[in-house]
Amino acid sequence: MVVDDEREIRRAGWRLIGNAVRPQKWWIAGGITAGIVWTAAKLTIPLLAAAAIDDGLHQGDIGHVIRLTCVMIAVGVVQGICTGLRRYSAFRIALRTETDLRQRLFAHLQRLHFAFHDHAQTGQLMARANTDIQQIETLVILMPLTAASLVTMIGVIVIMALEDPVLALLALGAMPFLNIAAARFSKRIAPVNMDLQQELADLSGVVEESLSGIRVVKGFGAERMQIEKLEAEADAVLDRALASARLRAGFMPLIDFLPTLSMVAILFYGGHQVLAGQLEIGSILAFNLYIFMLIWPLRMVGMLIAQASRASAGGGRVDQILKTDLLITDAPGAVAMPVGPGEIRFEGVRFGYGPGRAVLNGLDLTIRGGEAVALVGATGGGKSTIGRLLPRFYDIEGGALLIDGVDVRSIRIAELRSEIGIVFEDTFLFSDSVRENIAFANPEASFESVQRAARLSGAEEFVTKLPDGYDTIVGENGFSLSGGQRQRIAIARAVLADPRILILDDATSAVDPTKEHEIRAALGEVMEGRTTLIIAHRPATIALADRVVLIDDGRAIAQGTHDELLASSQRYREVLAQAEAAGPIALDAAP
C-alpha cells in the first residue's frame, strides 16, 4: 500500500520531469549530436597516438608522424568545441527546466485557497521550490552527460575488443568493480552523512539556544550545563564524522587503484603479446589512454542512478502540489459585483475548518449598507471566521451569504475581493517601502492617495519620522516597526483599496490605547459610506460601531448598542472582562 503510493508518486515525478523537459527538444537534439561527435573525436586520439608511435618506430617516417600529429590537433579542436556545446546545452536545458517548474509552482501556490496554506508550512513549500526542484535540475544535467559517458564506454570496449579481445577482457575486468564500489560507497555513506548533518544541526541548536537564552544561562550561572550539552553534541558529530571518514578511507584510494590494476594487466599481457608479435607497442599506450577515459564515466553512471531516485521522489512531491485543485474559483457564469449599498446577509450560515471543527452553527446576521457593526465574543467563537467568509477565503458549508442579495459564490472573485478591504489581526508587511506597502492593492496609486490613506489610518505621523519617510523599507529585513505601527500601515493599505466593505479584524489591538483615540476620529471618516465589520475587544474600538453583535458559539446571541448590551447581557460583560484581564495596561504611554 505505502510502497504503491511511493511508486505512484515517483511515476508522477517522472511524468512531471518528462513534460518539463520536452519543450526544449532542439537543445536536447543539439546536445546529443555534440555529445556523439565529442565521443568520436575523443576515441580517435589514442588510435592516432598509437599509429604515430608505431609508424615512427618501425618506418622512421617522420613526415608521417608530423602529419598524424597535425590530425590529432585538428581532432582536438573538434573535441574542444563539442565539449563546450554539449555542456552548455546540458546545463541550459536543466536550468530552463528548473526555472519553469519553479515558476509554475509559485503561480499555483499563489492561487491556492487559504485552507491549503493553513495546513502547509512555508518551510516545507520552500523546500519543494528549492531542494526538490534542484534535485530535478541535477538529474537533467546528468542525463545527457551520462549518455555521452555510456557511448564512450561502449566505444572503448568495442575498439579494445577488436584490437585484442583477451587483453580487453583483462584490462577492463577490474573496471566494473569501480562502478560497484562507487555505488556501494554512495549507498553506505548517504545515511552516515545524513546523520552527520543531523548532528551538526543539533549542535547548532545547542549554540543557538544558548545564545538566545544567554540571559538565563548567565543569570543562573548555568554555563557549565550548556558546555556539557555542547560537548555531548560535538562528540556525536565526531563519531559520525569518523564513520564517514572510515568509509571514505576505504573507497577513495580505489579510484586510483582499480585503473592501475588495468594498466598492470595491459603492461604484462600486452607486453607479452608485443613480444609474441601479436600487438604493436603503440597499442599499449592507446589502451592506457582508454582506461583513463573510463574512470569518470563509470562513476557517473552510479551517480545518475542515485540521482534519478532522488529526483523522481522530489518531482513527485512537486507534482502533488501542482495537482492540488483550487477549491475556490469563479463559478461558471459568475456575475459582476452587484451595484448596491453593500448590504451583507448571513442566513443560517454553517462553517468549520474541517470535520469536527465546526465554527459557525447557523449564523443569522444582517448588516445594512453603510452600517458599522462590531462583532464581540470570546476567543474561538467565530468572529474572525465571519470576516474571512465574506471575501471567500473559505466557502460556507450551509446556509447563504449574500451581498446586496447576491450569493458571494456567484460573484467574480477578483471583483468581490477588490470591493472588500480586510485588515488582518496579524499584519503582514512586505519587504518594500512604506509607500509600496500602502499602495499594495494598486501599485499605480498616486503619492497623494498614499499620503491620504496614511493620514486616515493614523500612520502619517510616524511614517514621516522614519529615516526615509515613505521610502523607508520595512518588512522582515527592513526597518522594524512596532505592532501598532504595522497595524496602522495595514489599515492604510485597506483604505487605499477604497473598498465598499471594510473588515477590521482586531486591527488596532496593538495600537497604544492613548494613540487609539487619535486614529478613532480618522477611522470614522474612513468608514463613512462603507459597510464596516469591526472585530474588537476594547470598548474604545467597539464605540466606533453603530451596533454591537455578540457572537458566541458560532451564533449571534445578542445585539444592540454597547450600553444596551452592558446592561442586558451577562455574557457580554463576561467577555469584555476577560479581554480586559488579559491585556496589560500600557504604563509606558502614560504622560
Partner: protein, 611 residues
C-alpha cells in the same frame, strides 16, 4: 577527469585573506594544533610515500617497454609488471592510511576547537551578547567550523597531494628528458592561465548566482508568507510576475556560469590533446634521433595526466582552502575577544544576606573591549546618571517609568550583567566587582520577562537554576511554589520534552518553569522583569500566585510594567531620563502628587472607562 563538472563554491571579498593575514592564521593554527602536531608529521610522510607510489607507475611502464619490449627481454617485462602491481598495492594501503589519519586528527581537532570556542563564547559578558547579533555568533560555531570540516573531509588530502603530484611529475619528466619536458611544458602556461581566469570569472559569476538565489528565495518566501494579503487584495498576478523577474534573473545568473565553463573546458580538453600531440610528434623525432627511448614517450603521455589534473583540481580546491582560512580568522577573532565582566583575582564570596546598595551609579552602553571584528563600539548616550538607592533585606521594590527611562538598565547593573561606569553596586557591603561570579549567581538571580526554555525536559529546564541539583531538590522547589500539580498534568509530567524553545508549552507554562528555576536557585535577591505580553487569565493567576510564593522571605526588585504590580510592592522607585525622580511607598507617592500620582491617575481613569 574526476570532479569534471563539480563547480567551485563562490568567495566574496570578506572570505579572502591577504598574504600577511594568511601567514598569521597559519602560525596560530600551528600553535593551536599543539598536541596534534606529531600526527600531522606522520601523515605528511605517509602522503609523500603514497604520492611516490602513484608516480612510480609510468616509470615502471617505461622500464617495461624499453628493457622488456624493445630489448625483447621477457623477464624484464615480468619484473616491471610485478613491481607495478606491488607499488599499486602499497599505494592503496598508504592511501587508506593517509585519509584515515588526516580525517581522524582533523575531526578530533575540530571537536576540540568547537568546545574551546563555545566555552570562550559563553564565558563572555552580557554586554557582548547585547551588542552582537546572535546569528553572527552562531555562524562562528556552525558555518565557520563546518567550512573547516569540509576542508578536512573533502579537500585537504587532495590539495596537498595534487601539489606533490604536480611538482613530482615535473621533476620526473625533466629527469627522463629535459628536451621533451621543455617541449611539453609549453602547454602548462596556457592551462594555468586559463584556470586562473576560470576561477576568477566563475567566482564572480557565482557571487551573482548566490545573490540572485537570495533575492529569488526572498521573493518566494514573501509570496508564501503574505499569500493571504496577496489574495485579499487580488494581487496574485502581480506577484507571479514579480517572481518571474527574480526567477529569470536567477536563471540568467546561472547561465552565465555555464557560459564561463563552456569556454574553459573546451580549452582544457584541447590543450590536453595538444600535449599528447607534442609528446608523440616531438618524441617521435627524438626517438628517431635516438635521443630518447620509446618507453620514455609512453611514460610522458602517462605523466601528462599527472600534470594536467592537479592544475584543474587545485583551481577548484583553491576556494575551499581560502574560505577555510577566512573562517579560521573569524574564529580567532572571537577567541581574542575578552570578557568585560570577569572575576578579579582574589575575589570573595558575597554574604548570604545583606543590603543592596546602588551608590551614585552612572552608565552608558558602548565602549568597552573590541568586538569580534576588532571594532570598538562608540560610547552611547548616558542611560543612568547619579542613581543612588538602597534595598533592605526582605523588601520589595518596584521600578517604574517610561520606556527608555533606564529602569531595565538599572536592573542589569544589580545582577552585574554590566559594570557601572561610575559609582558602585554593593551587596551586603561587598562590591559586586569584587565578588566571585559563582556566589553572585547564587545570591542574586534575574527572572527574565519571557520564560526562556531550552530543548529538553521540564526537569532539565528547572535544573538550570542550580546545575547539579538532585531530583528531590527540584521537586521541593516546585512544591514550594505550589506548582507540583500543574507540572504533573503535563503529558509526561516533569519528564515532558518541551521541544525547541519550549514550543510545546504555553507562554504562561513557560513562565511557571522559569519561576521554578528561580526557586531552585534560592537566591537572597530576586530581580524580576515583568512580562508585557498577554497571558490567558487562568494562567495569569497561577503565575501571580507562584510569584507571590517565590518572593516570600526574599529581597525583590521588580521592573514593573503594570501599576497594579507596583501597588503591591513595599516601595516604588520612579525612574525617568536616567535619574531616580521619586521613591517611597505607594501612599507616600500618591500624597506627593507628582510623577507617580499622575501615572496612577491616568491608569485609574483607564480602568473605569473599560469597567
Amino acid at each position: 577527469m574526476r570532479g569534471g563538472w563539480v563547480e567551485p563554491g563562490p568567495l566574496d571579498d570578506e572570505d579572502k585573506l591577504n598574504r600577511d593575514q594568511a601567514r598569521s592564521v597559519l602560525r596560530r593554527l600551528w600553535t593551536l594544533l599543539g598536541p596534534y602536531r606529531s600526527a600531522v608529521y606522520v601523515a605528511s610522510l605517509v602522503l609523500v610515500a603514497q604520492t611516490a607510489c602513484l608516480l612510480a607507475g609510468p616509470w615502471l611502464v617505461r622500464y617495461g617497454v624499453d628493457a622488456g619490449l624493445i630489448d625483447k627481454n621477457a623477464s624484464a617485462l615480468n619484473r616491471a609488471s610485478i613491481a607495478y602491481l606491488i607499488v599499486a598495492l602499497i599505494g592503496l594501503v598508504l592511501g587508506r592510511i593517509v585519509i584515515w589519519m588526516v580525517s581522524k586528527t582533523g575531526e578530533q581537532f575540530l571537536r576540540y576547537l568547537r568546545a574551546r570556542v563555545f566555552k570562550h563564547l559563553i564565558g563572555l559578558s552580557m554586554g557582548f551578547f547585547e551588542r552582537e547579533k546572535t546569528g553572527r555568533l552562531v555562524a562562528r560555531m556552525t558555518s565557520d567550523i563546518d567550512a573547516l570540516q569540509e576542508l578536512i573531509s573533502q579537500g585537504l588530502v587532495m590539495f596537498v597531494q595534487n601539489i606533490l603530484i604536480f611538482f613530482g611529475a615535473i621533476v620526473v619528466i625533466f629527469w627522463m628528458s629535459w628536451q621533451l619536458a621543455l617541449a611539453v611544458l609549453v602547454i602548462v602556461p596556457p592551462v594555468v592561465f586559463a584556470s586562473r581566469w576560470f576561477r576568477r570569472e566563475s567566482n564572480r559569476a557565482y557571487l551573482e548566482v548566490r545573490e540572485s538565489i537570495g533575492t529569488n528565495m526572498a521573493t518566494l518566501q514573501e509570496g508564501l508568507e503574505g499569500v493571504r494579503v496577496v489574495q485579499a487584495f487580488g494581487r496574485e498576478g502581480g506577484w507571479t510576475r514579480r517572481f518571474r523577474d527574480t526567477n529569470e534573473a536567477q536563471f540568467e545568473a546561472n547561465l552565465e556560469t555555464v557560459r564561463i565553463s563552456a569556454r574553459y573546458f573546451p580549452l582544457v580538453e584541447f590543450t590536453g590533446v595538444v600535449g599528447i600531440a607534442v609528446i608523440v610528434g616531438a618524441g617521435g623525432v627524438m626517438v628517431n634521433e635516438a635521443i630518447i627511448s620509446v618507453g620514455t614517450v609512453l611514460a610522458f603521455v602517462l605523466y601528462l595526466n599527472n600534470i594536467f589534473e592537479p592544475i584543474q583540481q587545485l583551481s577548484q580546491l583553491y576556494n575551499t582552502v581560502q574560505s577555510s582560512g577566512a573562517a579560521l580568522q573569524k574564529i580567532f577573532g572571537l577567541l581574542d575577544t575578552e570578557a568585560a565582566v570577569g572575576e578579579k583575582p582574589g575575589a570573595v564570596d558575597l554574604p548570604a544576606e545583606g543590603v543592596l546598595k546602588i551608590g551614585a551609579v552612572s552608565f552608558a552602553y558602548g565602549g568597552g573591549p573590541p568586538d569580534t571584528d576588532g571594532v570598538v563600539a562608540p560610547e552611547g548616550p548616558i542611560v543612568l546618571s547619579g542613581v543612588s538607592l538602597e534595598v533592605l533585606p526582605g523588601e520589595r521594590l518596584a521600578l517604574v517609568g517610561p520606556t527608555g527611562a533606564g529602569k531595565s538598565t538599572l536592573a542589569k547593573l544589580m545582577v552585574r550583567f554590566y559594570d557601572p561606569r561610575e559609582g558602585h553596586v554593593t551587596f551586603g557591603g561587598v562590591d559586586l566587582r569584587d565578588a566571585t561570579l559563582a556566589s553572585l549567581r547564587e545570591r542574586i538571580v534575574v527572572v527574565p520577562q519571557e520564560g526562556f526554555l531550552f530543548a529538553g525536559t521540564v526537569r532539565e529546564n528547572v535544573r538550570v537554576g542550580r546545575v547539579g541539583a538532585t531530583n528531590a531538590e527540584i521537586d521541593a522547589a516546585i512544591a514550594a511554589l505550589g506548582l507540583a500539580q500543574i507540572f504533573e498534568s503535563f503529558p509526561d509530567g516533569l519528564d515532558t520534552e518541551v521541544r525547541e524553545r519550549g514550543s510545546r508549552l504555553s507562554a504562561g507554562e513557560k513562565q511557571l518553569v522559569s519561576l521554578a528555576r528561580a526557586a531552585l536557585a534560592d537566591p537572597a535577591l530576586l530581580v524580576l522583569d515583568e512580562a508585557t505580553s498577554n497571558l490567558d487569565p487562568g494562567t495569569e493567576r497561577q503565575v501571580e500566585l507562584a510569584l507571590e510564593r517565590l518572593s516570600e522571605g526574599r529581597t525583590v526588585v521588580v521592573v514593573a510594567h503594570r501599576l497594579s504590580t507596583a501597588e503591591r510592592c513595599d516601595r516604588i522607585a520612579v525612574v525617568d531620563g536616567g535619574r531616580l525622580v521619586e521613591i517611597g511607598t505607594h501612599d507616600e507617592l500618591i500624597e506627593r502628587r507628582e510623577r507617580y500620582s499622575r501615572l496612577f491617575a491616568a491608569w485609574d481613569a483607564g480602568q473605569e472607562r473599560t469597567a
